[in-house]
């Protein structure tokens, strides 16, 4: 159990774009950090430790913890780097939570960032696969996702049109988020007419490549209330890894998110997640995941994901809005992406999400997903945890 309860007291993001030639990596990081400090009305002197991460082979800089201090403010402070592939941003959030929950640090600055425009994303992601057994055939992130979608479609009869409805939702939501990269609505026809990348995934079914950074400030219960009147309490976190070789995956279901969510529901006493959770920021790198993973999360029964999406329940104003920010399909600075989910969930709980605010959020979930079948999850709440 945690020694101290932990709250998010400030967040900051850059305006995420496909290319940021105007700043180097440290300067990009600094934009997010300065915004988070302003949001919390703190200065860098108030920060006790820094946790930072990205996909370090994306920029070819292998000592990011040290190299980034000009931007992170980590000069002469404890700094730890965490990097776990696609889940890097959510692992950063979990790592920051652990540092504060342990009682060792009172205020921790958590930073995720990426400059995807500085290398070949697919080449770099391919290094996530086993070089002897899997890498010669599989390539990049999209192959694994396509295999998942195919397996799910064969099992439950879902269609490309069902998936397109998820892209349409997220891209519509993104129009409410000034930080999102892709802020233009699309139609189902647009998705289906976009180039097929890896059957059944079209270009408009998947995330873009983005330059951007996100910073989150976490504080212990001893000072969180002094920093902000609307802290976002982190109730609990969970993380599951599943496979070494791609052939070990239970394709068509995401076991890691299923188990992580059950751990979280059990810890928090949540019996009916669909009714008790008010909003989800889902690390959903492609549209089919918006159908499959809400089943694995226990929001709807197996095979009922598409029906729930078509009902509008996950749209803004629906029963359980998913990705009010526009999610990963609208914006994906990979090392920051998971932390953006966490920051966006925090904004929802704090009531600071502006045009993308879901009313009366008591519980929010943010998730992370990585290369390709592991999961992180955080439960955010308005009320201080009672454990």
């Amino acid at each position: 159990m945690p020694k101290k309860r932990v709250a998010i007291v400030g967040t900051g993001q850059t305006y995420h774009k496909s290319h940021r030639p105007d700043v180097n990596g440290q300067e990009l990081i600094n934009e997010a950090v300065q915004r988070a400090l302003k949001d919390a009305d703190l200065t860098i002197k108030d920060i006790d430790a820094v946790v930072i991460g990205n996909m370090d082979h994306f920029e070819g800089i292998n000592y990011v913890d040290c190299w980034s201090v000009d931007g992170s403010g980590g000069t002469m402070k404890p700094v730890i780097k965490l990097t776990t592939g696609g889940t890097t941003g959510s692992t950063l959030a979990i790592g920051g939570y652990h540092l504060v929950a342990s009682g060792f640090f009172e205020k921790v600055l958590v930073i995720g960032w990426e400059k995807n425009s500085e290398s070949d994303t697919t080449g770099a992601i391919t290094t996530a696969f086993d070089p002897v057994w899997d890498r010669l055939v599989f390539a990049g992130a999209i192959s694994g996702l396509a295999a998942e979608a195919q397996a799910y479609m064969a099992k439950y009869g879902a269609t490309e049109k069902d998936a397109a409805r998820v892209s349409v939702r997220d891209r519509k939501h993104a129009c409410n988020n000034p930080h999102a990269q892709l802020r233009r609505e699309i139609t189902i026809e647009d998705v289906l007419a976009s180039p097929m990348l890896a059957d059944p995934i079209h270009l408009l079914d998947v995330c873009p490549r983005t330059d951007g950074a996100c910073a989150v400030i976490m504080a212990s219960e001893d000072c969180a209330g002094k920093v902000t009147s609307t802290p976002d309490w982190i109730w609990t976190t969970a993380n599951r890894h599943k496979y070494t070789y791609l052939g070990d995956v239970n394709w068509g279901e995401l076991d890691s998110i299923a188990e992580a969510s059950r751990e979280i529901y059990a810890k928090a006493g949540i019996r009916e997640p669909r009714k008790e959770i008010d909003v989800i920021e889902l690390y959903q790198p492609y549209s089919f995941a918006g159908i499959i993973w809400i089943e694995d999360l226990g929001i709807v029964e197996k095979g009922k994901g598409a029906e729930y999406i078509w009902s509008g329940a996950t749209d803004m104003g629906g029963e359980l809005p998913i990705n009010p920010s526009g999610g990963v399909i609208a914006c994906n600075p990979i090392g920051a992406t998971g932390l953006i989910r966490c920051a966006e969930a925090a904004l929802q709980v704090m009531g600071k999400a502006e045009a993308r605010q879901v009313p009366d959020v008591n519980f929010a979930i943010s998730t992370g997903f990585g290369g390709c079948m592991w999961s992180d999850m955080l439960l955010h709440g308005k009320r201080k945890p009672d454990f």
């Binding site: 940021r20 105007d22 700043v23 180097n24 300067e27 600094n30 000069t75 425009s117 290398s119 070949d120």
Partner: protein
Amino acid sequence: MTDIFSDVEPMVFKSRINVPYAWWTGETAERFFLALRDDKKIMGTRCPVCEKVFVPPRKVCPLCFHEKMAWVEVSSEGVLESFTIVKRQLAALTRKAPVIFGLIKLDGADTSILHYIENPGHEDIKIGTRVAAKFNEERSGSMQDIACFRPIS
């Protein structure tokens, strides 16, 4: 190496991927490189709070987090803070060994820059030696626009 493999058939898979990198300098470093290329000037940024002058220039003071840094020109001469003579031809070297790596604190700056030191015909480089930049005639906007630093009396 061949001895190790004399009794075995090595089973190795070669990587098929190539990850090329290209880094944006950002507008702050760009201004430094353009002044170097076009005017043979070395620019730094000064923090109005701690009054330190940073070369390479920083957009934000890394110590104070102050965002309004002022541009200042520093001298192309300075003092050798430390150095080493590299005698082995390492793969990353762009010049033929031996080469001297030096850390040079330019007059007017509070931080040092890393560059080659040349001292033709002499080995008597010492910490504290005063050095001056030797600019290349052809300049393209990188640290290589300075050929090296040389001792001055």
